[in-house]
């Protein structure tokens, strides 16, 4: 198998953290690719939940939007959206929530709302969607984010979704029932929260990535876990499954739509 890209490594590293049978609340983009890759490789019985109301879906191609017909066609059942949030997420029936964001801070708090002041933004982002309650209620969350000094930041412009708040047990003192972020998967490796401080520290590196690269990409003084693990390179089977999934998806999304009108 040919060389791999960091994007592929991120997706594969995220997929490997999911276990067979886990109930996973899936967002669009890289989280959706990672969850379906897990389903197609080591976790065939993973339960994928999308906020559009599709439970136990097994899409053949990745959805472009969170409510694509592909998700309904292959779901075990489809329920109204208010039920997804109230009866499944808020009730504590989700093991893993997968979140992306524009910014993450050293305690795993996320911004997907705005860059600049809220009332006079330099960049208006899409907003919370399901993220705030996923961050609060999923038993644990994984965050995927491409690393730049503008994305891994000392201070968020806006806190859309809670990680560990100010750290040192602040989250545990709230009424949030989910455990918060267990991993921030980025394009040099993985950050995980340190016990006690709740601060994200470097704990895993991809093949070829360095501590220096990680420090340069993080906007706060990055500390290292006592042991830095070296993540295994993608296997040929993982790469093949991921590339085939993306190829099927590209072909499907380029298909012209014809309306059945007379």
């Amino acid at each position: 198998m040919s060389e791999w890209t960091r994007d592929e490594m991120m997706t594969i590293a995220a997929a490997r953290r999911l276990w067979n049978g886990c109930v996973c609340f899936v967002g669009i983009g890289l989280p959706s690719a990672a969850c379906n890759l897990a389903r197609l490789t080591h976790a065939p019985d993973i339960v994928l939940v999308y906020e559009s109301g599709t439970l136990g879906t097994r899409p053949d191609v990745l959805p472009l939007s969170i409510g694509d017909g592909e998700l309904a066609d292959t779901a075990a059942c489809v329920v109204p959206l208010p039920e997804i949030f109230a009866y499944f997420l808020q009730a504590g029936r989700v093991d893993v929530g997968f979140l992306g964001a524009a910014q993450v801070d050293r305690h795993g708090n996320l911004n997907s709302t705005v860059i600049g002041p809220y009332d006079a933004p330099s960049t208006r982002l899409p907003g919370a969607g399901g993220a705030t309650e996923i961050a609060a209620h999923a038993r644990q969350t994984f965050v995927v984010i491409k690393a730049t000094r503008r994305s891994l930041v000392e201070r968020l412009d806006f806190r859309t979704s809670a990680g560990f708040l100010e750290g040192r047990g602040a989250r545990a003192r709230t009424t949030m029932r989910g455990g918060g972020p267990r991993a921030v998967i980025t394009d040099f490796g993985v950050l995980t929260p340190e016990d006690g401080s709740d601060e994200l520290v470097l704990s895993e590196l991809y093949p070829g990535a360095t501590e220096e690269e990680a420090r340069a990409a993080v906007g706060w003084p990055l500390r290292l876990a006592p042991v830095i693990e070296r993540i295994a390179a993608p296997t040929p089977a993982e790469l093949e499954a991921l590339r085939a999934l993306h190829a099927r998806t590209r072909a499907a999304h380029a298909q012209p739509v014809r309306l059945p009108l007379t």
Binding site: S52, G67, G69, L71, L81, F85, P126, T160, Q255, P260
Partner: protein, 285 residues
């Protein structure tokens, strides 16, 4: 409401149920988005609307970009899987074509507000908005103390749109509506509204009994309009697929104010109805 006269043209439904300044919801979560209704509201030049929708994607990008909204209640605004809703962004960032007041929530919050509205309760409640700055910027998000446990629970004011528009597969001549597939918060948004207008792919004399099928019964439906292809470029389960390529192309169309305006003038305002809109895109068979 009697079934007599409930089936009308879309133009008549908009003329009768939408007035300037009203609170209007168009729902459908990726699926069954009532584009035809949005376009008819634009053709009839309604102004100063308070638009409500969980996901103001392309349909509200078009409405906001054409200047028919003064306020927006929402929880996620973008072009899903593609990027920004450029016209929404331009309105918030630069006040173009008009300043837009925003009432911003989370999906769980809007869902709770629709459920409360449907039940005619004054507010919805949820274990939500925890640890988010949204509560600092939106004074409508508040909390109550649980009278049994003392826990603080977040509240959102009920949403009761003056009119909600939905799109569905089928209706019968009395106005019963059948919906199949991803529902989003359509049913709640419909039942929360003071008037409910539904566009459908097909009108039948009588719908078959549907034990657990989602049927909006005729006496909660104000008007039904036959509008084949009415969700395009969104999709209708069992009828036609989502035109993902259109959503991807929209990024370039909507990025520039002038390109956007001329596209809308040519394809929407320049077309007398939805069939002509589809024909102008070559989307019709």
């Amino acid at each position: 409401m009697s079934g007599v006269g409930k089936v009308v043209s879309l133009g008549e439904a908009v003329a009768r149920h939408v007035a300037d300044g009203m609170t209007v919801a168009l729902e459908g979560f990726t699926h069954l988005i009532p584009f035809a209704a949005a376009h008819e509201i634009l053709r009839q030049r309604r102004r100063e609307l308070h638009l409500v929708r969980m996901t103001p994607d392309l349909v509200y990008d078009q409405m906001i970009g054409m200047g028919c909204a003064r306020r927006l209640t929402f929880s996620w605004g973008g072009n899903p899987g593609v990027g920004s809703a450029h016209r929404l962004r331009d309105a918030i960032e630069h006040g173009w074509p008009l300043p837009l007041e925003i009432d911003e929530h989370t999906h769980a919050g809007v869902a709770a507000a629709y459920c409360a509205g449907a039940a005619r309760l004054p507010f919805g409640l949820l274990r939500g908005y925890l640890g988010t700055d949204l509560v600092q910027v939106n004074p409508r998000i508040r909390s109550v103390e649980c009278p049994y446990t003392g826990e603080r629970i977040a509240t959102v004011p009920a949403l009761n749109p003056d009119v909600t528009f939905l799109h569905a597969q089928r209706a019968d001549r009395r106005g019963n509506v059948e919906i199949v597939g991803i529902l989003g918060a359509q049913r709640e948004a419909g039942l929360a509204a003071k008037a409910l207008v539904v566009t459908v792919e097909e009108l039948v004399d009588e719908l078959p009994p549907a034990m657990n099928g989602i049927v909006l019964p005729h006496w909660v439906v104000s008007a039904v309009a036959l509008c084949p292809g009415g969700a395009y470029p969104s999709y209708v389960q069992g009828r036609y697929g989502r035109d993902n390529a259109f959503y991807q192309r929209w990024d370039a169309v909507s990025r520039d104010r002038g390109t956007f305006r001329s596209w809308m003038e040519r394809h929407v305002l320049g077309a007398p109805d939805h069939a002509s809109f589809l024909a102008s895109l070559g989307a019709s068979a």
